[in-house]
Subunit: 421 residues, 2 copies
């Protein structure tokens, strides 16, 4: 079904340029956007018009890194640092997903929150349990969302309840899951998901890399999140020149790879990530909450590395991507002030671009309202933010991003389909 939406449009033309069209028209042809117009061309005159007068219409947000099973304890245990936090919060919670009834309850809450959120596309971690991960994918797909989910692979340095038997078994389990998920789901696709170097033996990494190629699946993992973790990787793989190389040795750095964090890239690693076309999921809230630091986003961008944003729940406390945008701006200001005054802070327009076009590129042509892009859109009611003077659409957008709690997403389109009833 083709149609036209009318409202106050905001979208990125480039990283620096946020375009607004007050009372503009957005033409939708099937899954795709046919363009944003001040006045719609006459050839679209016969299409049905959905009037969202006075509401903001924005591209959907792309959350490149979120742990579905950690949603259950978001906002808890934030006084801990990474490794302690994994042992005391993440691993005990993730163990519960062996119980499919528990997984169903927890993933229902995740799915409901994700559906209501600003996110239209996501890359998410499940647990190592294939049945629970299939259930998660089923729920996300039924909710109308698009993107990737991964059964986590981990066969060392993990608690007994979250450690696969050995590399061979873990590889077989991953392959069986890849097959089943690939056959059952069309909008939420499987993604190979080694947890991170410390959790995966070399033998498992070799198998997972081969599986990604054989099943034409993308891959996600964690890279250079925290100083003690980086030190641990160095001990585990002394022959690698660094953490990024530890993945590269297994052929895991490709244009179909998302690496979360990259807070402390070493000499040469930034160039390697750019060369391999890897997408970095910048997760500012998580990096602060679990005391990792601040990722050098400006340096990554200057070097041509692809960057999108991730909420990283539950390292990040919220799945709200509007908050991730302003968190990215705030973190970049502190990076500039405290670490490197030659790294200019991200503007709000740039962070908005990262959350939409930047992350969207991982899913195809996604993230803005140019013709030919898949039509992911949010319809935002910002009347909960009254103001004593007239505001421009750009100002209303700024305010909605900085104060998302006072706005309501009243409709959300994913690849042209409205998903809120």
């Amino acid at each position: 079904m083709d149609f036209v939406m009318k409202g106050d449009l905001c979208y990125s033309d480039s990283p620096e340029c946020l375009t607004t069209l007050p009372g503009g028209y957005l033409v939708v042809e099937g899954k795709q956007c046919a363009g944003a117009y001040k006045t719609p061309p006459s050839r679209y005159a016969a299409l049905p018009l959905i009037d969202y007068e006075g509401k903001l219409i924005l591209p959907g947000m792309c959350d490149l890194h979120v742990h579905a099973p950690q949603f259950a304890y978001r906002g808890l245990g934030m006084d801990l640092e990474l490794i302690e936090w994994l042992n005391r919060r993440a691993f005990p919670e993730e163990s519960k997903y062996a119980d499919l009834a528990y997984a169903g309850r927890a993933y229902d809450l995740f799915m409901q929150a994700m559906r209501a959120s600003a996110t239209t596309r996501l890359c998410c971690f499940g647990t190592l349990h294939a049945p629970a991960t299939l259930l998660l994918m089923e729920k996300l797909e039924a909710a109308g969302l698009r993107g990737y989910a991964g059964k986590v692979s981990m066969d060392r340095n993990s608690p007994p309840t979250l450690c696969e038997l050995n590399a061979q078994q873990a590889g077989q389990d991953c392959e069986a899951w890849l097959k089943e998920a690939g056959e059952r789901f069309t909008r939420i696709r499987p993604m190979v998901t080694p947890r991170f170097i410390p959790s995966c033996t070399d033998a498992l990494m070799t198998r997972l890399s081969a599986l990604a190629r054989r099943y034409d699946a993308p891959l996600q993992s964690h890279l250079s999140e925290n100083r003690s973790e980086i030190e641990w990787v160095r001990e585990l793989l002394p022959e690698a020149s660094g953490y990024a190389d530890a993945y590269d040795r297994f052929g895991m750095l490709t244009p179909r790879t998302v690496m979360a964090h990259v807070v402390y890239p070493e000499e040469g690693e930034i160039a390697l990530l750019a060369e391999r076309g890897v997408t970095v999921a910048h997760c500012p809230a998580s990096n602060i909450n679990i005391r990792s630091g601040i990722a050098p986003v400006r340096k990554l961008l200057k070097a041509g590395v692809r960057v999108g944003l991730g909420t990283d729940v539950a390292g990040g406390q919220t799945i709200d991507m509007f908050r991730a945008i302003t968190d990215a701006v705030q973190a970049s200001k502190l990076y500039w002030r405290l670490i490197d005054e030659s790294s200019a802070p991200l503007t709000l327009a740039e962070a908005f671009y990262l959350a939409t076009v930047g992350g969207g590129a991982f899913f195809g042509k996604v993230g803005t309202f140019h013709p030919g892009y898949e039509l992911d859109a949010l319809v935002v009611d910002d009347t909960g933010l009254p103001h004593p003077q007239p505001l421009t659409v750009r100002e209303r957008l700024e305010r909605a991003l900085y104060l998302p709690g006072d706005c309501t997403i009243v409709q959300k389109y994913v690849a042209g389909v409205p998903i809120l009833s």
Copy 2:
């Protein structure tokens, strides 16, 4: 009217110790708290019981630094740094409050948001306009809030629309306002408010200091927010040994003074603030948004400086004090990671203490549920944060603080009086 409230109580016993009482009883005698109990003593058996079963009951929050006229543009212009932001956002907006009709509209929105917020006590800046500031005080008092508001004084380095004629006139205007406000209002009291050193001549500072003593009024201002501002103060008052001394020379550092920010205290200044009994309003969001940096809160606390939290709208984008608490934790983690690993991050319990007891001390015995404290309390419905497993009251509090957008404050008591209808 005396009464008893029942609910899931959380309050501070000390900076490190957060006490919870699931299904506990809070006894209110007049304005005061008569204690929190697992089982209420029999002498209170005849008091009416208000049952907030399943809801969190917390002390009210104290916002030590907020600019009422800047609420109108919160969340806007955040890509600017302090001085540019003052010139392009703060000053043009504040100029509008010469128009009492505009002030009425804008302050209605501020008052409504403040009433609905977690804040029960505040220290707020108005503008230099006495009529608009009286209107602000009238609205805040009618809303049931308590605390202080200040007509701003500024007679140099300000745009023509926001510059008082000279020190004599500015002093007379402040005095007339102090008199009228002091006579008209009982719960929102006047506070002497020199904007900051760069905006006030020595002659004006001398007068304001005398007025504060003559009218027994507290005083608020800004101290060491931003490096270029500190440099400016050094040029303006080369005879002062530092920014704090620039105030101290006028007798403005006293136990009845709130100084916002203190991001870059110089050698000896921390000890001076401790010695004078000044309360520092730590405003983490604002310090990040306008790129000032991170205040050394741990150092201030170790030195015995009194510290509370401020939202500093519109340097901070939100008046939400729950967010200020978690912002303070997050900022302290980055301070620890990026500036000084000997400054331990604030725990959530400590930041909660700062927002309640820490700031509350400026208003008397305010900020916790110990007997004899004035009873400021929030009743929080956190059912918007469903969870797949049982949570303790402490965990529910953590989650409410980290995810305030999903909670609702259903009732708020200020000095024993419910203020939400």
